[in-house]
C-alpha cells in the first residue's frame, strides 16, 4: 500500500515515516518461497530479527517450503522404540527448527505447547493429528476421559498449527509399513511440557530432549 503526501514539510515526513515503519509489514521485502532448507532458515532469522514477529509470514514460508530428501538426510534418524527429535537450528533462542522422525506406528503422548506457537509440516509419509480439549479442572482426584476435538491427516507438505489456546494434541504415524517425517518450528523454544493420560486427564510434566543436534547424536542419559 502506498500513499503520496502533499503539502507537508520535512519534519512531518520524518515522523510519518517512523510511524509507518511500525505499521508496515517488516517481512514484505522477504521471499515467500524458500527454495532450500538453508533459505528457509535465513528467512526465519530475518523474520525474527526484531521482537515483532509476523506469524502469518512464518506460516506462509513453512507452507511454501518444498525441500528435498538430500537436504534432510543429516536429520533423518529413525529409532525402533521411539520417534526422534533432531534439532536443525536453535534460532538464537527465538525459535527452534527441528525434524522429527516417526518409524512405523510410532506416536507421541498427548501434550501441550508451553505457551509457544507450534508449526508442524509433514515432509514424508502421513501423520494423524488428534486434537484434545483441555481437561476441565475438577480437582486432584477426578478422572474423566479426555475429549477429542478433531482428527486430521497430514501429508504432502501440509502444515498444522497449534498453540495452548487451541488445545492439546497427539501426533502419530498410522502406517505399519512406512516411516513419516515432520518439520517443526517452535516459537519460542521450550524444554518442558505437560503430558496427559487420555483415560483420566491426569497430567505430568515432561522434559523434552533432542536425539540429535545439527546431525550429531546427543549423549544418552
Amino acid at each position: 500500500m502506498t500513499e503520496t503526501l502533499l503539502n507537508t514539510n520535512m519534519h512531518d515526513i520524518h515522523d510519518i515515516q517512523l510511524i509507518r515503519q511500525k505499521c508496515v509489514d517488516n517481512t514484505a521485502h522477504l521471499s515467500t518461497h524458500p527454495k532450500s532448507l538453508n533459505e528457509l532458515i535465513e528467512l526465519l532469522y530475518e523474520a525474527f530479527a526484531t521482537n515483532d514477529v509476523n506469524i502469518d509470514y512464518v506460516h506462509t514460508i513453512m507452507n511454501n517450503y518444498k525441500g528435498n530428501v538430500k537436504e534432510w538426510a543429516p536429520f533423518l534418524k529413525f529409532q525402533p522404540n521411539k520417534y526422534t527429535r533432531n534439532l536443525v537450528d536453535a534460532g538464537n533462542g527465538k525459535f527452534n527448527l527441528m525434524i522429527l522422525c516417526w518409524a512405523e506406528s510410532q506416536g507421541s503422548s498427548i501434550h501441550d505447547h508451553t505457551n509457544s506457537h507450534c508449526f508442524m509440516k509433514c515432509i514424508q509419509g502421513t501423520l494423524v493429528e488428534t486434537k484434545y480439549a483441555w481437561p476441565k479442572d475438577g480437582g486432584e482426584n477426578t478422572e474423566t476421559p479426555m475429549e477429542i476435538i478433531s482428527r486430521t491427516e497430514l501429508k504432502d507438505g501440509k502444515v498444522a498449527y497449534i498453540n495452548d489456546s487451541i488445545g492439546l494434541h497427539r501426533v502419530e504415524n498410522p502406517s505399519h509399513t512406512d516411516t513419516a517425517v515432520t518439520l517443526h518450528l517452535y516459537v519460542p523454544p521450550y524444554s518442558h511440557c505437560s503430558v496427559f493420560d487420555e483415560r483420566t486427564g491426569r497430567t505430568k510434566e515432561a522434559h523434552v530432549t533432542f536425539y540429535s543436534i545439527n546431525g550429531l547424536l546427543t549423549p544418552s542419559e
Binding site: Q79, S105, H176
Partner: protein, 384 residues
C-alpha cells in the same frame, strides 16, 4: 538412548528410501550406465513391469559379482528365474512393486541376507516352500501384503534377526516361535491377531516387539522371559488390563494408547463358584496330602499336578480352573495407574477391596507389584 544401544538402528536408517520424496518429477529413464555401480545394480523407480532377463544380463556383465540389487518402486509382478545367477547377492530390494509370485530360484541365493518385499500383492500362495532354504537370511520385510497366515517358511530361517509383517491380514500365530532365537525385531502391527502363543517366550534375543493394531486382550505369561525386550508396542488393541508379568521386563518404551484399559474397578467382576473337584483338589494341595497312581486314577494325578499358584504371596493356595480375576492398579513410573490383571484363588486373596484404587500404602509392598526399586527401573518407560 543413543543409536549404539540398539543394533537395529542402522538398519532402520537404511530403510529410508532416498528417492522417495513428494516433490518427485523424475525422468522416465531406462537402463543407463549409472545403473550398475560397483557391486550395486539400481533399477529402482524405472516404471518397469517386467524384468527382461536378456536385457538385464546384457547390461550386468558379471551378475555373480553383484551384492546389492535395487528394484523397488516399479510395477513388477514377479522375477525371472535367471535371478539365480546373482549368486553373491546380499540385499534384494523389491518393495513397492506389484509382486504376486516369487520364483523358487530365489532360494538358491545362498548369500542373501536382506530381503525387502514391502508393499506388494503377496498372499499365502506367493511364497514358494523353497524359501525356507534361505537359512542365512537375516532381515525379511513382508509388510503391506495380503498374507492371511504367518509364513511357515520363516520358522526354518534360524538366522533371522528382523521380521516385519505389518499391515497384513494375519489372524492366527502358530505356536512355533521357539526356533526364532536370534530374532531381535518382530513387527506384527496392523494385523488381526487375537492371541499370542506361549512359544514367544523362547525368543530370547527379542528387543523390539510390535503388536499394535491387533485384537489382543491378553499376553502369555511367558512374555516375562524376554529378558532383552526394550520396546513393547501394544497400542490399538483390546487390553482392559495387563498381565503383571510385564513388570518383570526391563522396558524402555511401552505404548498403550487406545486400549479399553479399566480406569476404575468394575464391582461385578464375576467369580465362578468352583466345582467340587476343584475344591477337593485345592484341599489336597494346601494340606500337602500325598497321592500317587496307586491311590487315584492317572487323570486325577495330571489334574492335581496342573495346579496354579495363587498370585497373592501370602496365600499358599492354588487354583485349577476357577480363579478370581483381580484388577490391581499399579503406579507405573509415577505417572499413571495401570491396571494389572492378577489371578487369585479367591476374592479373599485380595489385600484391598476390589472397588478401591490402590495407592502406595503398606499393602502394596506385600503383593506382587513393583516396589520402589522397580518403579525407578521404569522411570524411563514412556506410556500413553
Amino acid at each position: 538412548m543413543a543409536a549404539a544401544a540398539l543394533t537395529t538402528a542402522e538398519d532402520y536408517e537404511g530403510d529410508y528410501d532416498l528417492d522417495d520424496d513428494f516433490d518427485d518429477d523424475e525422468d522416465d529413464c531406462n537402463f543407463s550406465s549409472e545403473t550398475v555401480l560397483g557391486d550395486t545394480v539400481d533399477y529402482s523407480h524405472r516404471n518397469i513391469s517386467i524384468l527382461d532377463p536378456n536385457e538385464l544380463l546384457t547390461l550386468v556383465k558379471n551378475p555373480n559379482r553383484i551384492k546389492n540389487f535395487q528394484l523397488n518402486s516399479n510395477q513388477l509382478l514377479t522375477l525371472p528365474s535367471q535371478i539365480e545367477q546373482f549368486q553373491s547377492l546380499v540385499t534384494m530390494e523389491l518393495s513397492n512393486n506389484q509382486l504376486v509370485q516369487l520364483p523358487a530360484e530365489l532360494s538358491l541365493l545362498k548369500n542373501l541376507k536382506n530381503l525387502y518385499l514391502k508393499n506388494n500383492s503377496l498372499d499365502d500362495f506367493s511364497l514358494p516352500k523353497e524359501l525356507e532354504l534361505l537359512k542365512q537370511l537375516e532381515v525379511i520385510n513382508l509388510g503391506g501384503n495380503r498374507l492371511k497366515q504367518f509364513p511357515y517358511q520363516l520358522f526354518q530361517m534360524i538366522n533371522l534377526k528382523e521380521v516385519y509383517l505389518g499391515s497384513n491380514q494375519i489372524a492366527f500365530l502358530p505356536d512355533l516361535f521357539q526356533t526364532l532365537i536370534k530374532v531381535e525385531v518382530l513387527y506384527m502391527g496392523g494385523n488381526q491377531i487375537g492371541n499370542v502363543p506361549d512359544s514367544i517366550g523362547y525368543m530370547r534375543s527379542l528387543v523390539v516387539l510390535n503388536l499394535s493394531g491387533n485384537r489382543l486382550r491378553t499376553l502369555p505369561r511367558s512374555i516375562s522371559r524376554l529378558g532383552r525386550l526394550k520396546s513393547l508396542s501394544l497400542h490399538n488393541n483390546q487390553f482392559s488390563a495387563l498381565p503383571p508379568d510385564i513388570i518383570r521386563l526391563d522396558l524402555q518404551e511401552l505404548s498403550l494408547r487406545n486400549n479399553p484399559l479399566v480406569v476404575r474397578f468394575v464391582r461385578d467382576l464375576t467369580y465362578d463358584v468352583p466345582t467340587l473337584k476343584e475344591l477337593a483338589g485345592r484341599t489336597i494341595k494346601l494340606h500337602k496330602i500325598c497321592y500317587d497312581d496307586q491311590s487315584i486314577p492317572r487323570s486325577l494325578i495330571e489334574y492335581l499336578n496342573a495346579a496354579k499358584s495363587c498370585l497373592n504371596p501370602k496365600c499358599k493356595g492354588v487354583y485349577f480352573e476357577s480363579c478370581h480375576k483381580n484388577i490391581k492398579f499399579v503406579d507405573f513410573c509415577g505417572k499413571f495407574y495401570l491396571p494389572l490383571l492378577q489371578f487369585l484363588c479367591s476374592p479373599a486373596c485380595t489385600s484391598t477391596p476390589t472397588f478401591q484404587m490402590t495407592s502406595s500404602d503398606s499393602d502394596d509392598n506385600s503383593d506382587d507389584v513393583p516396589n520402589k526399586d522397580m518403579s525407578s527401573k521404569f522411570k524411563k518407560v514412556l506410556l500413553g
